[in-house]
Symmetry: C2
Subunit: 413 residues, 2 copies
């Protein structure tokens, strides 16, 4: 991977999948794409005693993509042309080349390179154009190496085949899946959970339980992981869950790791929804329409960034905007009403706020955001918190908060 130029979208995902299988992931390394850097990283990992190394990236057509060669060298397995895989890759590439009119010579060269397989390794059918490799230990190099391409979509698509390959199966047979609980909380700071865990630790040994807390997408994720046959770990698990329920029960919205997006999608089945957004500029509509099947309930939305748009497209009264301002509980109430009516939906969500960095006043500072979620049958939730963070934070946090308000209104009703 090109050090410093690429966000690592694969490491955490792979680590999570391996964790579910009972494999303890001890390190994630991002290294430069020079052969010596890669070799040095592999030697470091082998010396730390790991059973399995998963690499991603470095299988592409550019000359600096050398992962397969480095792994072949490290395990003393010469690269050999896999003719079946050459044909598989060739067929895939031919389709691309035809459709996109790419340079055929460059593609043919890439083709040959990508069908080279270390002797004794298993090639994994590509999802893009690059096959993966499952390489058994060899030449004093003890870990099994699973070599995957860089694009996250390909890693995900090839994952099941990779696990089914002989060399990886041999590693998996030596472990058992963890038992896991995935609590998701909204609106609780990490420091409160830390205090809760300290309290539990005063009377219960938490040692045998692996607890990770992580703030992601403004959601506090508390993951509990234990060996399934460990009674002390189970006792610790139950004590932690009981204390979190006692102190933060109202904030727990998922006990299965189900995301707020999945919950809202589920709640919207058989209903229709529309949005009216100002400061979030369409991000809430974008998020609601992200999952396949969203067209079953999302009718649309209006991004009323200007006051004129709020008046003309959502029917918000000019006098109301003059009296209360575009960022006010009154304005979002009217915006949501406009969306209910214009789209003829069951549920409407309106957001208007001061995202910053400019536009804040003493009374309505940067981060002040008003929310209204209304149903066609007359129920409503309104909120107007001051959200922390900079412009991007305020916008993204507003979207997440709006999702939770939709959840609340639809589960209470």
């Amino acid at each position: 991977m090109l050090a410093g130029r690429v966000r690592d979208a694969n490491g955490p995902w792979i680590a999570e999948r391996l964790g579910e299988l009972g494999i303890d992931v001890t390190q994630i390394l991002l290294v430069g794409d020079r052969p010596d850097q890669m070799a040095s990283a592999l030697r470091f990992l082998a010396a730390s005693g790991v059973d399995l190394v998963v690499t991603s990236g470095g299988l592409g057509p550019t000359a600096d993509d050398l992962t397969a060669a480095v792994v072949a060298d490290m395990t003393g397995r010469p690269l050999e042309l896999d003719e079946h895989m050459e044909k598989v890759v060739g067929d895939i590439i031919a389709k691309f080349a035809d459709r996109l009119r790419w340079d055929a010579d460059a593609l043919a060269e890439a083709n040959r390179k990508q069908a080279l397989v270390p002797r004794g390794a298993t090639a994994i059918r590509p999802a893009g154009t690059a096959p993966g490799l499952a390489v058994p230990p060899g030449d004093g190099f003890a870990p099994t190496v699973l070599v995957l391409p860089g694009p996250p979509r390909e890693v995900r698509a090839m994952w099941d085949d990779a696990l089914a390959s002989g060399p990886v199966r041999a590693v998996l047979e030596r472990t058992a899946p963890f038992a896991e609980t995935h609590l998701r909380l909204f609106g609780v700071p990490e420091s409160d959970i830390a205090a809760t865990l300290r309290t539990v630790g005063e009377h219960t040994d938490l040692g045998p339980l692996e607890i990770t807390t992580c703030l992601r997408d403004f959601t506090l994720e508390v993951d509990l992981r234990r060996r399934p046959d460990d009674a002390a770990a189970l006792a610790a698990h139950d004590a932690v869950v009981a204390e979190i329920d006692a102190r933060h029960g109202r904030a727990v919205f998922s006990r299965t790791g189900e995301t707020i997006d999945e919950i809202v999608f589920r709640l919207l089945q058989g209903r229709t929804i529309a949005t009216a957004e100002s400061c979030t500029g369409g991000l809430l509509a974008g998020r609601l329409t992200a999952p396949a099947g969203a067209s079953g309930h999302v009718q649309g939305g209006i991004v009323s960034y200007s006051n004129e748009a709020k008046e003309h497209l959502l029917g918000v009264g000019h006098d109301l905007l003059e009296a209360h301002g575009a960022v006010s509980p009154e304005a979002v109430h009217a915006m949501a009403g406009g969306a209910l009516e214009r789209f003829g939906v069951d549920v409407a969500v309106a957001i208007s706020g001061v995202a910053g960095p400019g536009g804040g006043t003493a009374e309505k500072p940067v981060g002040y955001v008003c929310f209204s979620v209304r149903t066609a049958d007359g129920r409503e939730i309104t909120r107007d918190p001051v959200l922390p963070g900079e412009r991007g934070d305020v916008r993204e946090r507003s979207v997440v908060l709006a999702m939770h308000l939709v959840r609340r209104l639809l589960t209470e009703g």
Copy 2:
């Protein structure tokens, strides 16, 4: 950092900043948050001969956040309470606690822990609640260590102070910034650039030039980096740029690293814009409104996810939709016209496509997306490509392509 649970948003950013200062970043490590894992990683990096280690994360209030203690131990510098920093952190925390009604005891404990500084190190004023640390070498541990908190926003906010600290300045004085060229291309596959670079390599020695190519946000980034006083590197640089211009000149939209978002923002000064989105569900409007100051030109948008919304909110004719379908050049032309008229803007962008996974037909497969960019004075660009990838890819790629079409119409006009 919690291995496997967190996407590394800091490593690449920090590596890029250091690279600009002439520091060659050789490795990015993500390690678990156990002290022995962290210590092992620090020893590995020291053994590889680096001058500077930057850590992020592990400064939070939870008991597993131990970076400062590990670095103190490694450099033989006992932790001491920095009373000035204790007061700074205390004041910050008091404000949060007051506003958000968090548990004051938990916060006070966090406060004390976060004001502990290894002897001889420089504390860096926090952007959130956790100060950073610049720790000079010590006790046989040769690298300087810069310890930063985990949240990307805080890393960015504290970066200038961190560079100005004595220990980091001492490292920076030993290097000189690289000369860099940042080409940005849209619509060229990485394999074509690879072929172009191979051609140049046949007659010019590219060894002294560092070339990284990276596909990010559907944009091909070609970064050329060289020591400023190296004549051979300059010759290689000029040869590469000339060949890319000759072969892919039309695709080059930036030579300074300026992003498509920055270019469109600049072009929209003194104009107004609105959107009409179907398959992208508001993501284009969300992207246009991301930068501060967007309200100067973005009037708003309509997410017409359903056909009813296309008719009623954008005035697309029922007969037109019947005759050509909602995904057609005719439909987006009418949608853009509706947005021009409804919002009274200078420029309107309409997108309608088959994002998938369902809904594709032989004639209009998944990935078929229609675009219309129109100006109030009658100019227009229409496109209807079949975009590769899955639902999320198609949506995001459509947004980027729309940004480029806006750029093209506004630079040609």
